[in-house]
Point group: C2
Chain length 190, copies 2
Amino acid sequence: MAIKERRARERAEREQLIVRAARELAETEGWDAVTTRRLAERIEYSQPVLYSHFAGKDAIVAAVAVQGCAELAVQLRAVAAEFDEPRAAFGAVARAYLAFAVANPALYDAIFTMANPLPFGTPEAPAALHEAFAAIAEPATASATAAGLDPAGYTELAWSALHGMATLTRGGRLRPDLDHSRMAAFTAVF
Amino acid sequence: MAIKERRARERAEREQLIVRAARELAETEGWDAVTTRRLAERIEYSQPVLYSHFAGKDAIVAAVAVQGCAELAVQLRAVAAEFDEPRAAFGAVARAYLAFAVANPALYDAIFTMANPLPFGTPEAPAALHEAFAAIAEPATASATAAGLDPAGYTELAWSALHGMATLTRGGRLRPDLDHSRMAAFTAVF
DNA sequence: TCAGTTGTCTAGCGGTGCTAGGGTTTCGGG
DNA sequence: CCCGAAACCCTAGCACCGCTAGACAACTGA
């Protein structure tokens, strides 16, 4: 009996090993470098074992995404908890969100831009995702009601602005010298 | 002498044929389906002729992107011209921007999300790109000065919000039932 | 007519995600 | 202790990808 448990434990460890290897490879060389062959070589197994853990490459990046999601949620929550005033919290959370995207570009892509099959809307999305969204939604809701606007749409708009800044910044499509001005406009407007 | 001209004309026509085929294929089946082999089959030539026109596949999607850019600029300009009041113009341009992204998802991706090597900042970007950006920047600048904010950062923020909404909507990451509320928040806030 | 240029195609290279099949190891009961 | 059964993993390969070398055909211009 205990043997089965040990096997299951080893399997789980190897699965984490795969996810970790994929994330590291993506973060250091970009997602293009994350091929099943390189991944297999890195974990010192052959490619087919990857498919005994995940349905395909997409499932691997999805696993990386949910892991990243949890980290993002933790960071945003921690920042939000430092502030009493919702407006100040909103600004700080926004800055933390963008900082996360800059610090972990590959992780951010896995979560939000790659075509992963993660359910996102209100149905059964990973709990970490709800958590991260809530960290933005709470101060945003406070700001929306103060402005007499529907909180739901307002929150999605604010998130869209953050996401837009994150992605456009990475593509070199926004002027770096305007970072400060842009952020000032965000805190002034939202 | 005239023979060279005819040849050059035919080459230009074939180049347009390639760009058109790439765009159509992308729009109907997504960019994943745009492979050099399928593209070659569609224009009824072999793959190598593609490389006598473009440096590689990236250059082809870049060509599609600048073409789409011009169209976007025309549409935004046309919408902006209908309004005298900058505020009303801003809202209409924003709606037109999002409508463009919904109507031509592959085109939008080619311009803004794919890793094309288009220069974007202030240096030598395609003229059409400046044109499109200006169509957003002008009403945004009016709105920014009215709010006493730096127009440059304000404009980039507004564009980020639009871009974020466009991309998150396509990924099914925003609730469709909030489209109206989200847009109301946009016009109220910017 | 005929060399030289131009244009195009076939075939192939190294890479991708993914899978079929077989061989080795380990397990569990007689 | 031993052996059939199950679990596990690897080698080899498929069909596809972007891209290119080299051969071949067609056209040009003297």
